[in-house]
């Protein structure tokens, strides 16, 4: 049973709404009737073990995946059935930080950040250059316009990808595992950046992660996705006092009893 806990800003309008979403890949059911609303102006963290469909949920918002059944709404507009062309105005309002950064290898850092501006805006070259420099400075990567993505470290690539995600002043930024593959110090830099952008740009954010330190640092609202459904939804304190043993096991990071027994038998 979904335990909707107090502490969520239910008075705020819903920016994204999932209604009864089902998604399978072959015989594997990933989302099994998920319904959830993401409120405007809030940073929501979607937690869950690897392979439970967190990224799948995120990709439904930008139309990279379509549900097998159910509806996805952006504000009050249904978007799950839109073509790429019809999704374009929605995508303009959403920034997406990919798990692997997804910087274009053949372009410089400057061209990567300028890409959405050249695709969607009518800004002059000088204005685009100014915006690129400003966004790179916001993520602490000033004067790196001429570098190639291959010359950057993992953390720097994430920061450049973040600069690209916010180039168009989006209403919503989606973070897909923003700290995966980074050491704790660089992870914390990314966490601080998420908080800074939320504060400075007033953007809504959905962060998909299984990094608990990151989740508790940036999340105003926490959702746990497990077994194809949402098993908990609330503030960080609500999750800590949650009654469901699966929630407690996840947030304390304990291995399964069955897994431990199997390990000791080896």
């Amino acid at each position: 049973m979904v335990d909707t806990l107090p502490g969520t800003s239910s008075a705020l309008p819903a920016l994204i709404r999932f209604e009864n979403i089902y998604k399978s890949f072959g015989s594997q059911v990933v989302l099994n009737g998920v319904s959830i609303a993401f409120t405007e102006g809030q940073t929501t963290v979607v937690l869950g073990p690897s392979g439970t469909g967190k990224s799948v949920l995120l990709k439904h918002i930008v139309g990279l995946l379509q549900p097998d059944a159910g509806q996805v709404y952006y504000r009050d507009e249904r978007i799950d059935h839109l073509s790429d062309r019809d999704m374009s105005p929605i995508r303009k309002k959403i920034g997406f930080l990919f798990q692997l950064s997804a910087l274009f290898d053949s372009m410089t850092v400057g061209d990567n950040v300028a890409f959405p501006l050249r695709t969607h805006s009518r800004l002059s070259k000088a204005d685009i250059d100014d915006r690129v420099a400003e966004r790179l400075a916001m993520v602490g990567m000033e004067n790196s316009e001429r570098k190639m993505p291959g010359e950057l470290s993992g953390g720097q690539r994430k920061r450049v990808a973040l600069a690209r995600a916010i180039a168009l002043n989006p209403e919503l930024v989606l973070y897909d595992e923003p700290t995966t593959g980074l050491d704790p110090i660089r992870s914390d830099v990314i966490n601080e950046l998420i908080l800074k952008l939320h504060e400075e740009l007033k953007v809504s954010a959905i962060v998909v992660t299984h990094d608990l330190a990151s989740a508790f640092k940036v999340g105003e609202r926490m959702v746990i996705l497990m077994g194809g459904g949402i098993i908990a939804d609330g503030s960080a304190d609500d999750l800590r006092s949650h009654r469901d043993p699966r929630v407690q096991q996840f947030i304390t990071g304990r291995a399964d009893e069955a897994d431990l027994r199997a390990l000791h038998r080896i």
Binding site: V62, G63, A102, D105, F115, P116
Partner: protein
Amino acid sequence: MASIKTYDETLPSRPDYVARLGAWAINTNLAMGDMGVFFLSTLYGILRWPGRRTISETLAQMYEMGTKSIPVVMVAGGFIGAVLAVETLPQFREIGLASRVGSVIVISVVKQVGPILTAVMLAGRLGGAMTAELGTMRVTEQIDALRVMGADPIRTLVVPRVLACVIMAPILTLYSDAIGILGGWVVAVQVEGVRNYPFWHYAAQSTDLFTVNVGLVKAFFFGIVISTVACYKGFRCGNGAQGVGRACTEAFVTGFCLILLSNFILALGLNNLYNALYPNQPSVL
């Protein structure tokens, strides 16, 4: 004592066969349909007026595919022309027609060897590179990133590559033809002592503009086949390094088979066209 395998042990039961055959038929049809839709999307992308970014990317691809492929295509073409002379000259000498070897070399090179050799070189050199590049972009979510940023991946990535390959394949074929004929001339005239004038005289007599165009038309279609298959395999490749590697192999094998198949179909079609245009001439194709 060795056990004798029964029918039931060695072969799946009949319903398994039927199910497998059905699954194969469905999957093959789905894959062909998917490739067809991919090709039509590319065609639509080409027919829409290409933007400045598409044109500049096409020019960059033309340099990458064309200019950088000239040495390898010329070396291969030169040696094949030379081998043609080495292999055919003794036969012609035996019947006293050594001076006519030029016609065989030119017709073989211009109509078959030039376009096919160039296409195979392109499928190996460019097809693999295109599949690997696009496959890596897919695996590292760069193609998803393009879509999320409102750019059409077909128009951004596929259209410039297909256009560049379609334009450069006939041009490279001309290079291959020229060097192939030169290779044959070096062996026949400079090494084997065939007289220069009859070599070129019979070569020119056996070749007309239609013959040259046959090779170029074939190269045009081979360009479409190589680039479309390579881009398709890159866009649909599986995950990880293994997925990209497998996609590259599939791109070359599928591209090569389609080159041979389209060569046969084009030969038949162009032969009929020649007969319709020049009804009193013997078929040359």
